[in-house]
Amino acid sequence: MNTFISTLITGTANGAIFALAALGLVIVWRGAGVVNFAQMGQAMFTTYIASNLIASGNSYWLAFIVALISGSLLGMIIDLLIMRPLAHKKSSSATKTLAGTIPVIASLGILAILQALAGIFWAGEERGFPTPVNSFYFKNGDGTLPFSAFNLFVIGVVLIVLLSLTYFFTQTGAGLGMRAAALNPEVARLSGIKVSRMRTLSWAISGAAGSLAGLLITPSTNLSPNTLDLILIIAFTAAVVGGLDSPLGAVIGGLILGIGIALVTTYGSPENVFLAILFVLLAVQLIRPNGILGGKQVRRG
């Protein structure tokens, strides 16, 4: 099979996975105004829960559902215990500087805690994680097409998440309310929007989306407290490249990264992958500082 095409296909399959993780980041950014570095930590945690269920003999789909539920619960807990008290703090002059940074730092703290807890509960051997559908590549004549039913499944999931998110954010009242809650809580509250509830909701949704990403990523990365670190950085880059506030941007960013990595690996050297990512990131920022599909900010005197 043509190398170029097979590279594109592999890149797309990987890119879909990055896109899924990036979508999770976009949800919390849009719904709670937070760049959540703990996202993949949460996903790791819930995937461990699923992994344990499977190991003790339960079906994949039961574990799947439990992981999604615990993902949204974990998201809610993080919001209720940490993010909400932070949001309710009146900003003093010293903290104004960091207004946007504080939740980021909080999420880094949460990540550290989740990884430590996972280590304490489940450390030991690195584990694998099963796929819900066959991940053996399709046969194509006497060769193989580097694409599996599982890849199709992931792409399907990404599309569904993308479409429902886009619909949710742009077409529904709750979506509008959620964005408003993130952008200006006071105005949102005065419009009758239950800001705290909206933020909790967005943490819950993104927690579930993150869990979903975790379930679908770990079959290729394996599971240990830290294996998803790299995915987080890639997903984050994807979201930034695409524009943090745009679900479609996240997907495009994910695909750019997936395909880019595959191309560099094939035609360049794998050693240059991160340099290439850096290059793409800088180029996007020079040309479109808010990402490919990111909203423009209007400056006014």
Partner: protein, 327 residues
């Protein structure tokens, strides 16, 4: 108004007092704590660079460790390949990182907040690739082995100096110099214009501040300082990718937050906490029968909790809410 007349004198006295205090204190220390104090000072320089960037200009970097790496590599390659002295190494680290900061700042001045955080993170990630690309100079993933060397004979003839103590003696003047210059900048027009840009770019621009240039300058200053810290940090034994991982940047950020971002004394206190926390934990659990699994992860767990507690209870850090630099 007199307060302004002798900025350098005031800061010099402050800096020297701290220096003399630490110098004398170091004689009462065992080698272990001398080494720890040296580490505090190295990281303090790094945290200082973050303080400048985040505290004064409102930009956040999750890749400050990568800037330290630039300093480390530029000095270490000079030292190993050309046999330069460590002091020349510092100078080169300083300027090389400044130039790197200039390039980075030119690109990054256009972006802010999470976008900048992401970019700096990827820079940190790309570091091993760079080291591998230029393996003959940068030593690939093995890195370059360097160290503080031994004190010159005129000192060792005078007094017996342990390796840790010598480390401290080298680091101390460099850290003090950085502290002195940063204190000066923060107390004058430069620091003021950085904060103005941080608070309101349009307001700053109409007041005559070239916003883009100012942001780049902040990057250059911050980078140069970080490079200096990185050069020192490398001299502890090795300059290599695993010496400047992403987690180093996070450590610096943690120290900056614990100490109160934007505050110079806070930067110092935060660094002290970060460096001595593991010792503290060791001491605290030494009598308890803690399972290995728990004790392994305890430092990370506690750092996480400490970070959260700091920003939830008092976002301004341990220096206290409402703390502001005063001239």
């Amino acid at each position: 108004m007199d307060k302004y007349k002798n900025i350098w004198r005031k800061n010099l006295i402050k800096t020297l007092t701290l220096g003399v205090f630490l110098f004398l204190l170091s004689f009462t220390f065992e080698p272990y704590n001398q080494g720890q104090l040296a580490l505090v000072l190295m990281l303090f320089i790094g945290v200082l660079s973050l303080t400048v960037l985040t505290g004064a200009s409102g930009q956040i970097s999750l890749g400050q460790g990568a800037l330290m790496a630039v300093g480390g590599y530029s000095s270490a390659s000079l030292i190993t390949h050309l046999g330069a002295s460590i002091w020349i190494g510092f100078l080169v680290a300083f300027f090389a990182t400044a130039i790197f900061g200039l390039i980075l700042g030119t690109a990054a001045a256009r972006v802010s907040g999470p976008y900048l955080a992401g970019t700096t993170l990827v820079i940190a990630l790309a570091l091993p690739s760079v080291a591998n690309r230029f393996e003959s100079v940068l030593g690939g993933d093995v890195g370059l082995i360097v160290d503080f060397g031994t004190p010159p004979t005129w000192i060792s003839n005078l007094i017996e100096v342990g390796y840790e103590q010598w480390q401290l003696w080298v680091v101390l003047p460099v850290a003090l110099t950085a502290l002195f210059f940063i204190s000066n900048l923060m107390a004058t027009r430069a620091g003021r214009s950085w904060q103005a840009v941080r608070d309101d770019e349009i307001g700053a621009a109409v007041s005559g501040i070239p916003v883009a240039r100012t942001k780049v300058i902040v990057f250059v200053v911050s980078s140069a300082i970080a490079g200096l810290g990185g050069a020192l940090y490398g001299l502890r034994g090795l300059v290599g990718p695993s010496v400047y991982p992403v987690s180093l940047s996070l450590t610096l950020l943690t120290a900056a937050i614990l100490g109160g971002v934007g505050s110079i004394s806070g930067a110092f206190i935060g660094t002290l906490i970060v460096v001595f926390l593991p010792d503290l934990i060791d001491w605290a659990i030494s009598g308890l029968a803690v399972s290995e699994q728990l004790s392994n992860y305890l430092p990370a767990l506690l750092t996480g909790f400490l970070l959260l507690a700091t920003i939830i209870i008092n976002p301004a850090g341990v220096m206290g809410a409402g703390h502001r630099k005063k001239h």
